[in-house]
């Protein structure tokens, strides 16, 4: 694994990394370069010495001719200010050294294998590439190339500290200026410990859909999930901060009993309640190990998106990767209209239990969140607890969705798109982590 080598400044060693790379290199050009037609091609020719350069500028509407791109030594994505070129590792290293002395080039990095790439450039490949590079480009241009800051932004190992859980650091919530004030998040689970000191004074609406049991959490799972998605900025513990959307309005719906079970009738009643209250985000850390897509959840997810409500659900814990079983995304996360959330650990590796995409339409993982050794609230008197699961990753995504909704005004399908577009690409198969690690707005 090369988890500690997510990006390279010009001049950084590039060798010994070929195993999981494509053999091509990505060259990122300076901010002003992409506005001048021909400037990138010229820089590439003078620095890298390549002669055959295909550029998106040469084709109508930026649509690359695939045959020409394949025949070229380098392909320039002029609108992005980047180029992809073929080079053996020693040449790539030399290129990086030369680029260091040339202020037209910001960075050179080996192209990673993120998706299956066969033959010429496919639209999907280019799209994935564009998303990955634009994130890198934003980092570089935003930090003025400060190496230390870049390393922080691209850190791939985290741990809880006195101020924040590792999950809040990894998804950027620790440094996000957003709080999700005026955004409503419904957590449909085992309820919430309404007497927990960390939630005193918060706007909370609670409702039970379990006959004979109040919304008060008699299990713990619900209190943990509400804590991760909506916990406060300054827990009374004293404790490090563990909540993403610190000022969101909380709708705690009890759809699972204190014994941890719930029926479609209870869960759908909870969704209906959340929709009637026009919440922006519904978080469901629940699922059944069923491959088949439910027509009811699919229709409800679609209606929710149309009404401006995003539903996120746990992909499932049915994998046992260390034993060779990657599992599968269960119901209801396997609905195309419901966002399926996988779990990664503090080294941004896929969690052993985190379910993988299936070939069922909609049965794919859409995004990943922190889901191993997640510290959050637990019913009194225990107060706090660390547990693992895609159940713990899901409220990270729900909380970030609330922050993003506040930051951009996006709801429903637009909010879904913003979440996946701003996710941090990981060097893991998209079948495992979808668009990557969810990221809070900065």
């Amino acid at each position: 694994m090369a988890d500690d080598a997510d990006s390279y400044e010009a001049g950084a060693p590039l060798s010994d990394q070929t195993a999981e790379f494509t053999g091509r290199y990505i060259v990122v050009f300076a901010d002003d370069m992409h506005r001048e037609p021909g400037a990138i091609t010229e820089a590439l020719q003078s620095v890298a010495g390549v002669s055959r350069v295909a550029s998106t500028l040469d084709f109508e509407a930026g649509a690359l001719d695939l045959d020409q791109a394949e025949a070229a030594d380098a392909t320039v994505f002029a609108e992005l200010g980047v180029a992809v070129m073929a080079a053996d590792p020693s040449r790539g290293e030399g290129l990086a050294a030369m680029a260091e002395a040339d202020d037209r080039i910001l960075a050179v990095e080996p192209e990673r294998i993120l998706r299956a790439i066969d033959g010429p450039l496919s639209l999907e490949y280019v799209r994935g590439f564009r998303d990955g590079v634009s994130g890198l480009y934003d980092q570089l241009s935003g930090t003025g190339l400060a190496g230390a800051e870049l390393d922080v932004a691209a850190a791939s190992s985290f741990s809880d500290n006195a101020a924040f859980t590792w999950g809040l650091q990894a998804c950027g919530a620790a440094v996000s200026p957003k709080t999700a004030a005026d955004i409503a998040v419904a957590v449909l689970d085992t309820g919430l410990d309404l007497k927990h000191a960390d939630f005193a004074g918060r706007p909370i609406v609670s409702q039970s859909f379990v006959a004979g049991q109040p919304a008060q959490d008699g299990h713990g799972h619900g209190t943990h999930c509400v804590g991760t998605s909506c916990g406060p900025n300054d827990p009374l513990g004293p404790s490090r901060r563990y909540g993403v959307a610190t000022q969101a309005k909380i709708f705690a719906g009890k759809v699972l009993s204190d014994q941890g079970s719930g029926s479609d009738g209870q869960i759908l009643a909870g969704i209906n309640w959340a929709l009637a209250n026009r919440v922006e985000v519904i978080s469901m850390s629940l699922g059944a190990d069923v491959r088949q897509v439910s027509k009811a959840y699919e229709a409800v997810g679609r209606r929710a998106l149309a009404a401006g409500t995003l539903i996120v659900a746990a992909a499932g814990n049915n994998a046992s990767r260390s034993a060779g079983d990657p599992g599968f995304v269960g119901m209801p996360a396997n609905s195309p209209s419901i966002m399926a959330v996988a779990a990664v650990d503090s080294n941004l590796r896929i969690a052993d239990f985190s379910a993988r995409s299936t070939t069922v339409r909609g049965g794919k993982v859409d995004i990943a969140g922190p889901g191993v050794a997640v510290y959050s609230s637990w019913p009194m008197p225990t107060r706090y607890k660390s547990i693992s699961g895609t159940s713990m990753a899901t409220p990270h995504v729900a909380g970030v969705a609330a922050l993003l909704s506040q930051a951009t005004g996006a709801r429903g399908a637009e909010l879904w798109a913003k979440l996946t577009q701003t996710a941090r690409p990981l060097s893991l198969p998209s079948a495992d982590v979808g668009a990557g690690l969810v990221q809070a707005p900065v």
Binding site: T190, H219, G220, H221, H224, L256, G260, S261, G262, S263, D264, G265, I267, L268, A269, I271, N272, L275, A276, S285, L286, G287, A288, V290, S294, K295, A296, A299, V300, R303, A304, A307, N317, M331, F353, I387, S388, G389, S391, M392
Partner: protein
């Protein structure tokens, strides 16, 4: 023998609920915002519900179970 079912509706849920009751379903909840009706029906009548106007799907109710509070993975 009654089966618990979840009916996905396309159209006005209250109107569909009336038709479902007339066809023998014991309607427990009409979830208008979600467009879903829950309840139960005699097993031999279940198939006939599928053909009613405004009924998009009839599915057997499922139950979900999370891990106990002391489990490491939840």
């Amino acid at each position: 023998m009654d089966e618990k079912i979840t009916v996905t509706v396309s159209g006005d849920a209250d109107t569909v609920a009336r038709k479902l009751r007339a066809a023998g379903m014991n309607v427990a909840q009409v979830l208008g915002a979600a467009g879903v009706i829950t309840g139960s029906v005699a097993a031999e009548r279940r198939a006939s519900l599928t053909d009613l106007p405004g009924v998009a799907a009839v599915e057997a109710e499922r139950t979900f179970q999370i891990a106990p509070p002391d489990a490491e993975v939840q």
